[in-house]
C-alpha cells in the first residue's frame, strides 16, 4: 500500500474515482504476499502491482467494471484451475485471491 499512496493522493486531489485491488490470500506459489496492492483510477491508470505482471491486465478490467457498477467490492481468484472468471493465470502455477473494491472510505 505504501508505494501507491502518492498516486492515490494525486488522483483523489483530481476527484478521480479509484478502485483498490489487494492480495488477500495465496495458494501454492504466488509472486506477491497478502497485502500487495494495486490502484486503478476511472481512466484506467494503474499504480502498484499484485503479481509478477501476469494478471494485472485482468485486474484493471475488473476494477473498471466495479467502478462503473457501484459494486461494494468483489473477491476474485486467478490461477491455474480457474476457468470461469478469466482466461489468465499465474505462470508459477499458484492461485491468488484478490479483493477489489472502490476506494470510497
Amino acid at each position: 500500500m505504501r508505494e501507491i499512496l502518492n498516486d492515490i493522493d494525486q488522483w483523489r486531489s483530481q476527484n478521480k474515482r479509484i478502485a483498490v485491488a489487494r492480495v488477500v490470500d495465496i495458494e501454492g506459489s504466488g509472486p506477491r504476499d497478502p497485502g500487495a496492492a494495486m490502484a486503478v483510477n476511472q481512466d484506467g491508470e494503474v499504480s502498484g502491482s499484485v503479481s509478477g505482471g501476469c494478471v494485472e491486465g485482468a485486474v484493471v478490467a475488473e476494477a473498471l467494471e466495479i467502478l462503473a457498477s457501484d459494486s461494494p467490492g468483489r473477491l476474485v481468484k486467478f490461477g491455474y484451475s480457474d476457468d470461469e472468471a478469466f482466461a489468465v493465470g499465474l505462470t508459477c502455477g499458484g492461485v491468488v485471491h484478490l479483493f477489489i473494491q472502490p476506494l470510497n472510505w
Binding site: L5, D33, G35, F99, Q101, W105
Partner: protein, 266 residues
C-alpha cells in the same frame, strides 16, 4: 477519513490495521483500528467490530496479515456459527518497518545502508568519530548518530525484535566489543560482525576477557559477516549480508561465511 488516516500512519511508520469484509453480509465494509485510539468506520455490527478489532490488534502486534471468519455478530465458536452466514474479514497489518542499526561509518556502511533501504529497513548509522558519521556521507540512512554503541543500545535496544538487525562493521575492538555486548542484551534477530577469521578469533579472546563466554550468546554472532558468495566490493558484500539476514530470518540453510573455512577473498 479512513484512507487519510491510514495513509498518514503508514507514512509516519505508525502501526495501524485495516479490516475489510471480503465475503458475506456488508461486503466492502471497512474499519481502521489503531492501538489505544478510537476505531474509524464499522463492519456493520457493534459486536462484530469489538471481536474483530480485538483479533486484529493481536495480528498487528505480531505483524501478521490474514483472513479471519466470524458470524455476522462476531460469533467465533462452531456452535454459534451453525446456520449463520459467514463473514470473512481481511485483516491487513501495517507495522513499522524493521530496523537495521549499523555500527561503524566505513565504506561498507554506505553500500549496506543502500541495500537495506531497498529492502525496506529503517536504517540507523552510528560511529563515535564525528568526521565519518555525517549525513552527507550517508544520505540514504534515516538517522546518523555520532556516539558510542552503549548509549544507542541502552536507549533503543528494547524496541529491537526478531525482524531487526545489528551490523557491526567497525573492526575496532574499542567499538566492536561494547557493540556486541549491547546487541546481545537485546532480542534483535540478527547480529553480524565484520572482520577476517583472524580478527574474529582475536575478538573472541576480548569477549572472553569481558565475560561474554556463554555458548548461546556466541552462537548469535554471525562472524565473519555475510554469505560465502565470493563478494569483493562493498556493494557485493552488502548483498551477501542482506541475503544472510533473509536466510536466517526464515530459517533456511544458507552458506554463511561463519560455517566455511579458508580465506574470505580467494
Amino acid at each position: 477519513m479512513i484512507y487519510k488516516t491510514l495513509a498518514d500512519r503508514i507514512r509516519h511508520n505508525k502501526p495501524v490495521v485495516l479490516l475489510t469484509i471480503i465475503h458475506g453480509p456488508n461486503i466492502g465494509a471497512t474499519l481502521l483500528a489503531t492501538p489505544n485510539l478510537e476505531n474509524l468506520g464499522t463492519l456493520g455490527d457493534a459486536e462484530l467490530d469489538r471481536v474483530a478489532v480485538r483479533d486484529a490488534l493481536g495480528e498487528l502486534e505480531a505483524g501478521r496479515t490474514s483472513v479471519r471468519s466470524y458470524g455476522p455478530s462476531g460469533q467465533v465458536t462452531p456452535e454459534d456459527l451453525h446456520d449463520t452466514p459467514t463473514v470473512r474479514v481481511f485483516v491487513e497489518s501495517f507495522s513499522p518497518p524493521p530496523q537495521m542499526i549499523i555500527f561503524g561509518a566505513v565504506d561498507f556502511t554506505a553500500a549496506l545502508a543502500k541495500v537495506a533501504k531497498v529492502l525496506g529497513y529503517y536504517v540507523l548509522v552510528c560511529d563515535a568519530r564525528e568526521v565519518f558519521a555525517t549525513k552527507r556521507r550517508f544520505p540514504m540512512a534515516d538517522e546518523v548518530l555520532v556516539t558510542w554503541p552503549t548509549p544507542v543500545l541502552t536507549a533503543r535496544g528494547s524496541d529491537l525484535g526478531p525482524r531487526d538487525a545489528i551490523c557491526i562493521l567497525t573492526h575496532d575492538p574499542k567499538f566492536d566489543v561494547p557493540a556486541i555486548q549491547g546487541a546481545l542484551a537485546t532480542n534483535v534477530g540478527y547480529i553480524g560482525v565484520m572482520g577476517s577469521r583472524k580478527t574474529h578469533a582475536k575478538r573472541l579472546e576480548r569477549l572472553t576477557e569481558v565475560g561474554v563466554t556463554d555458548r548461546k550468546d556466541l552462537d548469535r554472532l554471525m562472524s565473519p559477516i555475510g554469505l560465502d558468495i565470493g563478494s569483493r566490493t562493498p556493494e557485493e558484500t552488502a548483498i551477501s549480508i542482506c541475503a544472510e539476514i533473509i536466510g536466517r530470518r526464515v530459517g533456511r540453510v544458507v552458506p554463511s561465511l561463519r560455517e566455511s573455512s579458508g580465506p574470505i577473498h580467494k
